[in-house]
């Protein structure tokens, strides 16, 4: 919503901390040669990309290409092996002094994650809490907000995702689409600057996909910065500002979704799109 790094104001406008500011207008996410291996298998082989503030950034590619892994690196659920990853100008998971990197403490990593919402393919709602409690949990436990304030916001968010009448239900009593909408509300309750979506509709029955995409569309309209891993090419084309096609741990092709999806340049992109479209 209100951007500190709005267009035009050069350089000094942003609250200048000692952090290494990369550019006058900060991208929300910046990846430089990100490498990630599990054991001996290299899953990310040098990812470079930038996601601007308020952008809806779609990530597509075949299964096993490393999309989820990249997304999980952004909030440090996975540690990268080489390269640099910045969110809002801050290095993810490390502190750089000179050319030395220091790992952040658990508390500091948690601090960074507060600003990054994540929505999982399998929802991962807390099953022992009602929808309302799920949404209230992090603001109360992490930010130390009062229950009254957290409840008020949680109710507003659940209303916004169309679940005003479902607040007292446990996740097991909700449909997949409803659960995923609660999960989105839960992430939004921390008032993040950036939202990560990892195939949010892949576990849903086809008729429930629409209700989740509608909520995401609304978020995009409100100016939320979003990185969306998805197989919903219709959504990417309609809502996405840019798209990246990943295969085998590298970015194969990127650009405007309308161009890339209708007129893919690379043959691997063409092959993939011919299968999913």
């Amino acid at each position: 919503m209100s951007e500190t790094a709005a267009t035009g104001t050069t350089g000094t406008g942003t609250s200048g901390t000692e952090e290494d500011t990369v550019e006058p207008v900060l991208p929300m996410v910046k990846a430089e040669q990100v490498h990630k291996s599990f054991g001996h298998t290299e899953v990310l082989k040098g990812i470079d990309l930038e996601v601007a503030a308020q952008e809806v950034f779609c990530l597509v590619g075949p299964s096993g290409s490393g999309k989820s892994t990249f997304l999980r690196c952004i909030n440090h659920l996975e540690k990268i092996n080489a390269g640099r990853l910045y969110v809002d100008g801050r290095l993810v998971g490390y502190r750089q002094k000179g050319d030395r990197l220091y790992e952040l403490r658990e508390r500091e990593v948690a601090e960074q994650r507060k600003d990054i919402g994540m929505v999982f393919q399998r929802f991962n709602l807390f099953p022992h809490m009602t929808a309302l409690q799920n949404v209230m949990e992090a603001p109360v436990q992490v930010k130390g907000e009062s229950k009254a304030v957290a409840r008020e916001r949680a109710e507003r968010l659940l209303e916004r995702v169309g679940l005003a009448d479902r607040m007292r239900n446990y996740p097991a009593q909700l449909s997949g689409g409803q659960q995923q909408r609660v999960a989105i509300a839960r992430a939004l309750a921390m008032e993040p600057k950036l939202m990560l979506f990892d195939e949010p509709t892949s576990a849903l029955d086809p008729e429930l996909v629409g209700e989740v995409l509608d909520v995401m569309r609304g978020l995009a309209e409100d100016g939320m910065t979003m990185i969306v891993v998805t197989h919903e090419m219709g959504f990417a084309r309609e809502v996405g500002d840019s798209i990246v096609f990943m295969d085998d741990g590298v970015v194969v092709e990127s650009g405007n979704p309308r161009d890339v999806l209708t007129n893919p340049q690379h043959e691997r992109t063409q092959a993939f799109l011919s299968k999913v479209l």
Binding site: L125, H128, M129, V142, A172, Q173
Partner: protein
Amino acid sequence: MNEAPDTPGEPQEADRASAAAGRDAQVGETRLTKTDTLRTEETATADLPPAAIKAIPVRHWGRWIGAALVLAALAAIGLAFVNGDIAWAVVGERLTDGTFFWPAWETLKISVYAMLIGVVLGTLLAVMRLSSNPVLSAVSYAYIWFFRGTPVIVQLLLWFNLSAVFTYVDLGPIYRNEMNDVMTPFVAALLALGLNEAAYMAEISRAGIQSVDHGQTEAAHALGMSGSKTMRRIVLPQAMRVIIPPTGNEYINMLKTSSLAFAIGYGELFYVAKNVGTTDYSVMEMYLVVSVWYLGLTTIFNVGQYYLERHYSKGANRSLPPTPLQRIRGQLTAFRTPSKVGGTTV
């Protein structure tokens, strides 16, 4: 299946209807020859459900014989006890005169306290065991190895006789006392039973913690929750569902194992039963009396456990399981409703 006309007045009409019904045609015809009142027959096939099957059930002779044998054996055992040299009057008297009220209270007290130590320390040990810190993990492993690997009675006596090797409990400037004063039978029993229980509870808690989907931890971390908060708020409450049933089992075990504390002179149920029995020459009688007490305690606990499990199954099912009262009420009404054909009620 067959759309017969509402009121077939004539035989021919009924014939047409059955013919239209195709595969029912033959059935219709045989019926026509058998019955004289066509009208009722037609409506029967059209509207009413088929008559309930009344078949002669298979006779299970084996079951009858088995039951008879078991009952005969039970009767024989019962008779033996009645005719045996047992002063039943003493049993009845001691059961009701309050001799065992305070000992039962002591049993309850030591078992609850020891169990609390077991649960808290056991959970801690489980978390240590699962931690990525190799020292913590190894210490936890060694603890479990030692306390599970030695008999409780030995541990009881070890604690109680600690004064033989340490004359003083000396914590420097904070605390200093003679070991004999500190290590009362109660303290020794509490330590021995509690620390032993912790080893078992550690394994139960570990299984519970590991049963929680890793996605839960990730979701909590992604929201900015710390590791310890994730454990307390997200993982452990869900692990409870797996932890509680075997913990109830452990507690029932504890109620009974606490009787071993008689060996160090702790005045719980069994210790008193033994003393009263030897002084009054009613050893067998007193063992029967405490058996009733133990049964009573475990029975009460079973009911409590049911409600505890019900509490922690919140969210695991679409609806909570019924309380025993609700279930009894349901079964009573089930008696009044006739059993449905093809339904689940019997």
